[in-house]
């Protein structure tokens, strides 16, 4: 008896991969919140969460107490579940509930096309009870082996905006409303350079299929070496798309309280947080796929075979590839967190000006440059690298010649402490008598800045 047509080896492997990876991503998300707290603590010279273990208050499990605070995500989850799910007066009831769902669902399906384990040639699968034999062959260890891979991930990532807009609108809170507006404007603005920088990569690979993109990088070297400028633009854009610092204007605590999730509590608030971190995982995996060679270990050196053989040896190779891929994702997540705790937040008008007046023109020029190089058959490592450096040099050379934005600049108050009038004698000395530095500076102002 023959199995139904849809039941192919690829279908079985994809289903298993999808189910496993959604759990792996959820656990990664839970622990990346822990990781973020730890990293921020060490950057700020604190210790971070270090109390909650897995002892659950039971005397028999005393040896699990502490455990570097690794029980923190679990405790957080239980706490969220037991908190009151409150809805303020005047909130749009349906949309208020729909918004966290609308943001978490795209975040959890985005990574479906990521080819975690590469290609695996498997043997025939025999199901004994119903006596079906499913023919084996090369399958991709990915949630979904579809031809439009890159388009899928872009499309799903864009859906996350709906949750932000709905959450801001439904809350009936002015902070939420402003946060939602800002976030949606920022996310749609940075989607354009994201697509354009991806375009200059697709011009080299000539395919939208994730496996082919990795295959191209196996032979030609990782694309971050060929298109460093595109990689930089892409990374800036995924930071802005995920509402991460220095682009976290949507939830700028000092001005907007919490942004679009100000009025949320309990598990609905947790879903917003979860979606943000799941988005980080997906975009890091996307970056690793496009620029860091996916599961490839060392650039320019062929170390791992492209196809894993049938049997346990091949399975071990697939696991190794998944491990390498996931390590890259985790490294990128750590990098994002270090950026968040090192770089101050940009003002909203600066964020939008960076998008529309610098990143978008630069990425358009980059696409044209790549197209010309591909036409001239110069799409190898050295010409591309040189062209990228040349474009960056041209950008830096042109930068002083461009008109400067005069809005939102500090108004110079002549005669003030910072801008004393010319010819005045300025004495700068610590006023505190106990100050250690007693050497004052005494000078005459000759020119104003």
């Amino acid at each position: 008896m023959n199995p139904p047509a849809f039941l192919t080896a690829q279908f079985i492997v994809s289903t298993i991969t999808a189910i496993i990876m959604v759990h792996v991503v959820l656990i990664t998300v839970a622990y990346s919140i822990y990781l973020e707290r730890k990293i921020s603590a060490y950057i700020q010279d604190r210790v971070g969460p270090n109390r909650v273990g897995f002892d659950f208050g039971l005397p028999g499990l005393k040896f699990l107490r502490g455990a570097w605070g690794l029980g923190q995500p679990l405790a957080d989850g239980i706490k969220f579940l037991l908190k009151e799910d409150y809805q303020p007066r005047g909130a749009d009831k349906a949309l208020f509930t729909l918004a966290p769902m609308a943001i978490v669902i795209p975040a959890l399906i985005g990574f479906a096309i990521i080819p975690w384990g590469g290609t695996w040639v498997i043997g025939d699968i025999h199901l004994p009870l119903i006596n079906w034999t499913i023919p084996g062959g090369p399958v991709q260890v990915a949630g979904a082996a579809v031809n439009i891979g890159i388009i899928y991930i872009l499309a799903v990532a864009s859906l996350g905006i709906y949750g932000v807009v709905l959450g801001g609108w439904a809350s009936n809170n002015k902070y939420s409303f402003l946060g939602g507006l800002r976030a949606s404007a920022q996310m749609i603005s940075y989607e354009i350079p994201l697509g354009l920088s991806l375009l200059s990569v697709l011009l080299l690979t000539g395919s939208l299929i994730p496996t082919r993109i990795i295959g191209h990088q196996l032979t030609e070297g990782w694309l971050i070496f060929q298109q460093p400028l595109a990689a930089l633009i892409f990374f800036i854009c995924i930071l802005a798309e995920a509402n991460r610092a220095p682009f976290d204007n949507a939830e700028a605590e000092q001005e907007l309280v919490g942004g679009y999730h100000t009025e949320y509590s309990s598990m609905r608030f947790a879903l917003f947080f979860l979606a943000e971190y799941a988005h980080m995982v997906t975009s890091s995996a996307f970056f690793a796929l496009v620029f860091l060679g996916g599961w490839d270990l060392i650039p320019f050196v062929s170390t791992l075979p492209i196809e894993a053989a049938p049997g346990w040896g091949g399975f071990a190779l697939v696991l190794l590839k998944i491990f390498i891929y996931f390590s890259k994702v985790l490294l990128l997540i750590c990098f994002m967190m270090v950026i968040r705790w090192s770089i101050p937040r940009m003002r909203f008008d600066q964020v939008m000006q960076v998008a529309w007046q610098s990143v978008i023109p630069l990425s358009m020029a980059h696409v044209v440059m790549t197209a010309v190089l591909v036409y001239l058959d110069l799409d190898t490592l050295l010409p591309l690298l040189l062209a990228n450096i040349a474009l960056a040099a041209v950008m830096l050379a042109v930068l002083p010649l461009l008109p400067r934005a005069t809005a939102n600049q500090k108004v110079r108050l002549s005669g003030s402490r910072f801008h004393p009038p010319i010819g005045e004698r300025v004495i700068s000395r610590p006023t505190d008598p106990t100050a250690l530095d007693e050497h004052g500076v005494e000078a005459v102002v000759v020119a104003s800045r």
Binding site: A5, F6, Q10, F11, S14, T15, A18, I19, L26, L81, L82, K83, E84, P88, R89, A91, P100, M101, I105, L108, T119, P138, V139, Q140, G143, A144, A145, N147, I150, I151, N173, Y175, F177, L181, A185, I188, S189, I192, G195, L199, L203, L204, G206, T211, R212, G215, S266, M267, R268, L271, I306, E307, F348, D349, M352, V367, V372, V374, Y375, A407
Partner: protein, 149 residues
């Protein structure tokens, strides 16, 4: 689609990488995505419902007001907002749709033979696209669309 490209001569020799034959044009390859969507919806709904069940319920008149830094809320939040957000949305539509139309171009351009006249036309297309986009960009810039102050 891939088969057509090779047989129609668009992809001479195609890619010589040892890639598996991709039978992914079938609808069946999207079935795991459907499964993922169902799992994600279940996860989202279950979490909200569970916190409804386990969480306490305490109503209050003051508690039901929205947060406005401790002050009594003034009016509604759904007011008129800056028209720049609307402009950004419109410009985004123009740019994003143009970029989406460029993806098939980008996926095919490296695969065609670059010594033919056809390749020249393909290159001219991107230049024409960029020309129209740059004109639109300069117009928008002159109109002050990209100014945020």
């Amino acid at each position: 689609m891939h088969g057509c490209l090779t047989s129609c001569g668009v992809l001479p020799g195609a890619l010589n990488l040892p890639m598996p034959p991709l039978a992914a044009t079938e609808v069946g390859s999207y079935a795991p995505v459907l499964l993922l969507i169902i799992m994600a919806i279940t996860f989202a709904v279950a979490n909200v419902v569970l916190s409804r069940i386990f969480g306490p319920r305490r109503e209050g008149n003051i508690k039901a007001t929205t947060y406005e830094s401790g002050m009594d809320p003034v009016g509604t939040a759904r007011k008129r907002f800056n028209v720049r957000f609307y402009l950004i949305a419109m410009i985004f539509l123009v740019f994003d749709i143009e970029i989406i139309f460029l993806y098939p171009w980008a996926a095919t351009f490296p695969n065609i033979d670059h010594s033919t006249d056809q390749a020249m036309i393909w290159l001219a297309r991107i230049f024409f696209f960029m020309l129209t986009t740059v004109i639109a960009y300069i117009y928008g810039y002159r109109k002050g669309v990209f100014k945020f102050d």
